[in-house]
Symmetry: C2
Subunit: 201 residues, 2 copies
DNA sequence: CGAGATCATAGACAGTGTGTCCAGAAACAG
DNA sequence: CTGTTTCTGGACACACTGTCTATGATCTCG
């Protein structure tokens, strides 16, 4: 049985994950074969199929582990009562992305037919929608636009900037500065859109 | 010679283009084989390769024809002296997208390894950057953020909303209303970012 | 109408990658 | 050392690719 969850297994899976990510970044998802992956991971081809059904399964594995982690951290950041609309969630996403930039690059570039990107956008726009909704309710104001559209637009913006930032040549522009920009854009645009402008006077 | 540019040839290419687009929307790019395409287009397999080197070549053909057309129209809209920053370019993209929604859906979803989406974003963000730059210069103001980032963010927003709109169930929200929202968001966010706010008082 | 050009077609071909299976080697825990 | 689990290379049938050839279909223009 897998009572012990053999270390070997963990190491193999890890090697395969890393191999996939770096190869995909190098040549693009479609151009990477299972052979390439096992070669890079220094693993037998047969072994691959004992761990994952597919190249796609491995890809999904990478995506979901990244996203699970991110969601947990966002939940923490958003736990406090009126945490919405501050820059914290945005900053947290940026921080998380720097910890595993390659996986993020792969996902946000839409590699692997874009499933990963879509998953990311869905998760993030759901969060965004919740933030907007909570804030609108808390301040008893009427949104001027569909909050769903607003969330989509917001996430599209975030993703674009995050990707730009990840792909920027070293040394990268300071995280805090970029985050600040995004937050400030939200102030002027999003706050208005939700009929709530904390900066108004 | 192809002096006459035989009508047959045009029809065949058109049929292949349409077949690709609809099949990709149905099953995703990777799951579509050349066999599928020629079957849907009611064309022999050998014929395919006399017109296109590849499935990729056909895909690129679709993308570039869509983009060429769009760029021309944008150029017209932007021709007038101070056309920048009005809602016209945005509206034009939306209009163009309704004329060939399937091709746009395919491209914006990032099908085909995302090359099409990247081409679209590059073209559009270049335009956006020009608009911002021109406006900043015309009003002799100092931008508060990197205009490149601003353009990226803006385009990310546009793409997200455009895709949301294209995928919305019929009857779709009125184009004009969505466009208006995007333009208004630009007012509050982008105008501020470029240090130029026509609505300020 | 008929000759000449152009385009479309079916079928065969080797090449590459896939996913499955097996029997044996290697690594590990107790 | 023993038994369990994981890893391994090699073999297999299968699917899709891209190229080629010989033949048939369709159009143009005199």
């Amino acid at each position: 049985m897998t009572v012990v969850e053999d270390r070997r297994s963990r190491r193999t899976r890890g090697a395969l994950r890393d191999a996939l990510v770096s190869l995909v970044l190098e040549r693009g998802y479609a151009a990477v074969t299972v052979e390439d992956i096992v070669a890079a991971a220094d693993v037998g081809r047969a072994t691959f199929y004992t761990h994952f059904k597919d190249k796609e399964a491995l890809y999904d594995h990478v995506v979901s582990s990244v996203l699970l982690d991110l969601k947990e951290r966002l939940a923490e950041v958003l736990a406090p009562e009126d945490a919405g609309f501050t820059g914290e969630p945005v900053a947290e996403v940026f921080r998380h992305a720097t910890e595993q930039p390659d996986a993020y690059r792969m996902i946000l570039r839409g590699e692997g037919d874009g499933r990963g990107l879509r998953a990311f956008e869905d998760a993030w726009s759901t969060t965004a929608h919740e933030i907007f909704t909570a804030r609108v309710k808390a301040h008893a104001v009427r949104p001027r636009v569909d909050l769903q559209v607003l969330a989509r637009a917001w996430v599209g913006e975030q993703v674009a900037v995050l990707l730009w930032w990840l792909d920027a040549p070293e040394p990268r522009p300071a995280t805090d500065q970029v985050v600040e920009t995004l937050v400030e854009l939200s102030r002027r645009g999003r706050f208005w859109a939700t009929g709530f402008d904390p900066g108004a006077r």
